[in-house]
Symmetry: C2
Subunit: 340 residues, 2 copies
DNA sequence: CTGAAAGCGCTTACAG
DNA sequence: CTGAAAGCGCTTACAG
């Protein structure tokens, strides 16, 4: 393995000072064009690359963004929520476009919380995805804020949370999907998903759902069953619902993963979807188009979300004013709700 | 935003020299225990974190691994192959466990090829995932090798490729799935997927498929249709197959994505799977369990793959001897082949 | 347009 | 056990 070339090596070969090499490589207008071209040519020949550690140290920045993914503590360790994977993809692309590197870290509950990315100058800012344990999450966000760390979080704006948030309107998503079911003539409902303060996204979806029923005078025809965002929890909740007695006309699941489990449990119980009961999900993960029947769901635009998260963070890093942004959620109609 | 504390600030507060602070924080045994504890306490109070750029610069390493994902140039820009996303997840976990950071980069064809991660000291080594354009890929691998970069690639060992490879046995996977179909009594076959030198993984799967037919004297009963790894290509190929005339008893797809498209095209043509024709895929992506019928496919163990890639790279970085590794591929039987 | 010099914040060989 | 000093490889204010 060859020794790595430094700017001094190039300076020597080009017969100029090291300062001039640095200027030439940074395309400074201060340097003679002929000199600049010569230096750049030599740099290319030597396969020279600026040492990022040195340049970052000098410039006190890193051109790197850290992505922290907080997973649901109870979710299967080997499986990452497909929705976050999709987000990861779009964030990666957006970073590349902005010429930033992306440092990825999955935070498990057991891990030490290390938000040291910015403190240690490894990253100029942080994107937070997911909640993990919500109480824990709030502490972490508060800590980031108090340290003056630049960060953006995926989620709804919230007075309890400082910092910039980019999210998708879970309340409106809950409304829209419920509205769709009502317009299909459904009159009795069940909501499958946690509805507590520890799961704010699900709670907002539930609230949108419930308010819509209320507006139509259907709020008495609703039940709710707890479930975290896994298939197994969905199946479990459906078994509870079946045991509880009468089947509703429509089952609204707080996530696609829950809906997958619901479809499975219903199939096992020989209950036909959508003939006996309509089922809808939330997230529009890739799988949802392929279930039997294909799942009607609510889409969050992950491509746009990634772009917004990155551009908002970059603005924050440059100390520009940034507003929270709430994207609209869009109903994707497939077969599981009986519309088609 | 507060100024970041440096080791000098801590030295000042602790009444010791900056060298001692550095030693104390690195748990050097050279420092008095009482002093060490005092320094560490003050560091904690100030929320001090070692500046990674400075320490990396000094140590000439980065404790960071770069993951380069080469996508199929023709695949939909907004969609990342779910198989790679799964790999990404397991690599991220493995890195975290080894206390390495992970820099993620998606390389599009249009992008400049920049393997400068190690050259610029941003990463100590590189993991290559995917091929993109294969000819291009070979040049890049050769370039990495000639520069003495530490890298590991996902794929089969190959004399034409220098460097360490970790992969899954595509030849054996092709054999196993074909063997399974033959044991189900199938006697006529079609293979959907490219079979050229630009797609070595598909080619190996095809070769395993074909050799198995040959061994059973069934090689005359086989046709092959080109397709890259997308749904659309799969649908397109199936339409070609249908137009070509007689339907085989089994369709072997070179990837699950192709198989998805195949199922779609067959459904549109009112051809029943598995009653009229068996269909099998390759990869066991999450979606494959949810298609109708659920897809029989070949699994590559992504969790193990991620761990092996990371540990092999770490060994290479430490200049230890590393061997190529070829994982076995496992047939996952579901409904689409008619076995259940 | 160019060069000599300072300094970013660390780690560690050297001297005590 | 501790401190003073060198040096990792850059960028840029300063002087010319």
């Amino acid at each position: 393995m060859k020794e790595k070339a430094t700017s001094f090596d190039i300076a020597h070969l080009a017969g100029v000072s090291q300062s001039t090499v640095s200027r030439a490589l940074n395309n400074s207008s201060l340097v003679n064009q002929e000199t600049r071209e010569r230096v750049q040519r030599i740099a290319r020949e030597l396969n020279y690359k600026v040492d990022k550690n040195a340049s970052n140290l000098r410039l006190q920045k890193s051109s790197t963004i850290a992505l922290l993914l907080f997973e649901d503590p109870t979710s299967d360790d080997s499986m990452i929520n497909p929705f976050f994977l999709a987000m990861l993809g779009s964030i990666t692309r957006a970073c590349a476009q902005a010429n930033y590197d992306l440092l990825v870290s999955f935070q498990n509950l057991e891990d030490d919380w290390h938000a040291e990315y910015e403190d240690s100058n490894k990253a100029d800012g942080i994107i937070l995805l997911g909640y993990g344990d919500y109480t824990d999450y709030q502490n972490k966000v508060a800590q980031l804020e108090s340290q003056g760390t630049h960060f953006v979080r995926w989620g709804a704006p919230d007075e309890k949370h400082p910092g910039i948030s980019i999210g998708c309107d879970n309340f409106q998503g809950g409304e829209s999907i419920t509205q769709h079911l009502i317009s299909q003539g459904k009159t009795t409902f069940a909501f499958i998903g946690d509805n507590g303060d520890h799961a704010p996204e699900f709670k907002a979806r539930f609230t949108g759902y419930y308010r819509t029923l209320l507006a139509h005078g259907l709020d008495k025809n609703s039940s709710q069953f707890d479930a975290i965002s896994t298939e197994d929890a969905g199946s479990e909740a459906i078994r509870g619902l079946i045991e509880a007695g009468e089947l509703p006309q429509a089952i609204v699941c707080a996530s696609d993963l829950i809906a997958m489990g619901a479809l499975r449990a219903l199939r096992q119980a020989k209950i036909k979807v959508p003939d006996d009961v309509a089922v809808v999900g939330y997230d529009n993960i890739a799988v949802s188009a392929y279930t039997t029947p294909a799942l009607t769901t609510v889409q969050q635009n992950t491509k746009l979300a990634g772009e917004l998260l990155v551009s908002a963070l970059l603005k924050a890093i440059n100390n520009e004013e940034v507003d929270d942004y709430l994207m609209p959620a869009e109903v994707i109609v497939r077969q599981s709700c009986g519309s088609q």
